[in-house]
């Protein structure tokens, strides 16, 4: 007698597209799908005299609402490599974390400092594998033994190698600044000033970007992560009176359910003999 039980195979990981048909049917009927938390974003990078400078704004949006006014978009990849991320926040966060751990394991294996092209290849292979469903647009920059490098990575897995780059909804505003003012051989001060200007252009002219400017300077053997390097949008109208809240909070009923029984141990019987 054969058993007719169907053993359900455990999920192998990766994406499950089972609900896609259902979602399509629902959107056909006019049901709006929930918003993802996106980093509307302006992210930039440029190569200067001694290395690479990365910049990013700090606004995260969920539809028309700003859900985080001061999030971090410049992610750590390796001590000499940082990556800015635009697109779906969960995607940029998890893909950079994943490649960062892979790089660390690789460093232990090889005994050498990570190279930017290693991070690039790991990222592009992963993103291409998922055919653009992982919505992460990245600006990868770092300095390794072969020199300073700057790359852009698109959600479908294509990459560019550039002297200056911008990504995100504010990329056009930022690129306008770069295209007019960039030149080769900028020094650190000029580079930071230009990056800040490009991000500010995104912050003030693009509605998907806002709040503060984060900057990261990477040079041979050294990195400087300047969180909130510039804060051009401070909170100005704070009520001097402070906001009042209703004085009384009426307790209508109280019910306490202990989750664990507190067991009382009563010392009974003779003590153990030695």
């Amino acid at each position: 007698m054969s058993s007719s039980s169907i053993v359900e195979a455990p999920p192998k990981g990766g994406f499950s597209f089972d609900l896609c048909k259902r979602n399509e049917m629902l959107s056909g009927k006019g049901v709006k799908h929930p918003n993802y938390r996106k980093t509307g974003t302006t992210i930039v990078g440029l190569i200067f005299q001694d290395g690479v400078i990365l910049g990013a704004d700090t606004r995260a949006t969920s539809g028309p609402i700003v859900c985080d006014k001061n999030c971090e978009k410049i992610h750590f990849m390796a001590p000499n490599i940082y990556c800015c991320g635009a697109g779906t926040a969960a995607d940029t966060e998890s893909v950079t974390d994943m490649v960062s751990s892979q790089l660390q394991l690789h460093r232990y294996h090889t005994g050498r400092e990570s190279r930017v092209i290693t991070a690039l290849t790991l990222l592009k292979k992963h993103l291409f594998n998922y055919q653009g469903h992982i919505s992460a647009a990245l600006v990868l920059g770092g300095v390794d033994c072969t020199g300073p490098h700057l790359h852009t990575i698109y959600p479908h897995g294509s990459t560019d190698t550039l002297p200056f780059a911008t990504m995100g909804s504010g990329s056009l505003a930022a690129m306008a600044v770069f295209e007019s003012k960039y030149k080769e051989g900028l020094n650190k001060e000029e580079g930071i000033k230009l990056v800040t200007e490009a991000i500010c252009s995104g912050i003030f002219n693009d509605l998907g970007s806002g709040s503060n400017v984060d900057v990261c300077v990477i040079t041979k053997g050294e990195k400087e992560y300047m969180r909130n390097h510039l804060k051009p949008n401070p909170r100005t109208y704070v009520s001097a009176r402070a906001y009042t809240f209703p004085k009384k909070i009426e307790v209508l009923s109280t019910k306490i359910t202990p989750l664990k029984e507190l067991a009382q141990v009563v010392e009974a019987g003779d003590a153990m003999e030695e």
Binding site: G40, D206, L207
Partner: protein, 169 residues
């Protein structure tokens, strides 16, 4: 091929709060389309009558058309009745105007503020097709979801759930 859409959302928010003998109306001045800013200096507030101000957010072309129409109707009223329209009267007129286009609506989210016939502050809040209600305060537009809870907290009295104490058996 995406279908041509006759509507666009120019963003922005409007607020109005009514007091005992005054009414405050405010709006932001940003006009946008998608992620781009069209202008930083465009007012969404329009004076319809001495005691009646309209603030609308949403599609600015429809807003302009609505303002023109209401202003014209008000002028006719003044000629016929030899007086300004009161705020409640304008409130009803706006509702009827919006419902008139029930099947190709004005994409505007309106707040009408002013003084009623007795001189007390009044605020009327509308949806896109003319459903309206007189309230003490209201916010409309993209920021309304953030502003209304704040106004509810600061202006409304504490919990309406306040029950009288249970009588001891």
């Amino acid at each position: 091929m995406s279908r041509f859409s006759p509507y666009d959302n120019n963003g922005g928010s409007c607020v109005a709060i009514a007091g005992a003998d005054y009414c405050v109306i405010a709006s932001d001045t940003r006009m946008s389309t998608g992620y781009n800013i069209l202008t930083r200096d465009h007012s969404k507030i329009y004076k319809l009558a001495d005691k009646c101000i309209l603030a609308s957010s949403g599609f600015q072309a429809d807003m302009k058309a609505l303002q023109k129409l209401l202003a014209a109707r008000h002028l006719i009223y003044q000629h016929q009745h030899n007086k300004q329209m009161s705020c409640p009267a304008m409130g009803q007129l706006l509702s009827n105007t919006l419902y008139y286009k029930r099947f190709f609506p004005y994409y505007t989210f309106n707040v009408l503020g002013g003084l009623d016939n007795e001189g007390k502050g009044c605020v009327y809040t509308y949806d896109a097709v003319g459903s309206y209600e007189r309230v003490g305060y209201s916010a409309q537009g993209s920021g309304s979801v953030l502003i209304m809870p704040f106004l509810d907290n600061q202006l409304k009295s504490p919990s309406p759930l306040l029950l009288p104490a249970q009588v001891q058996p």
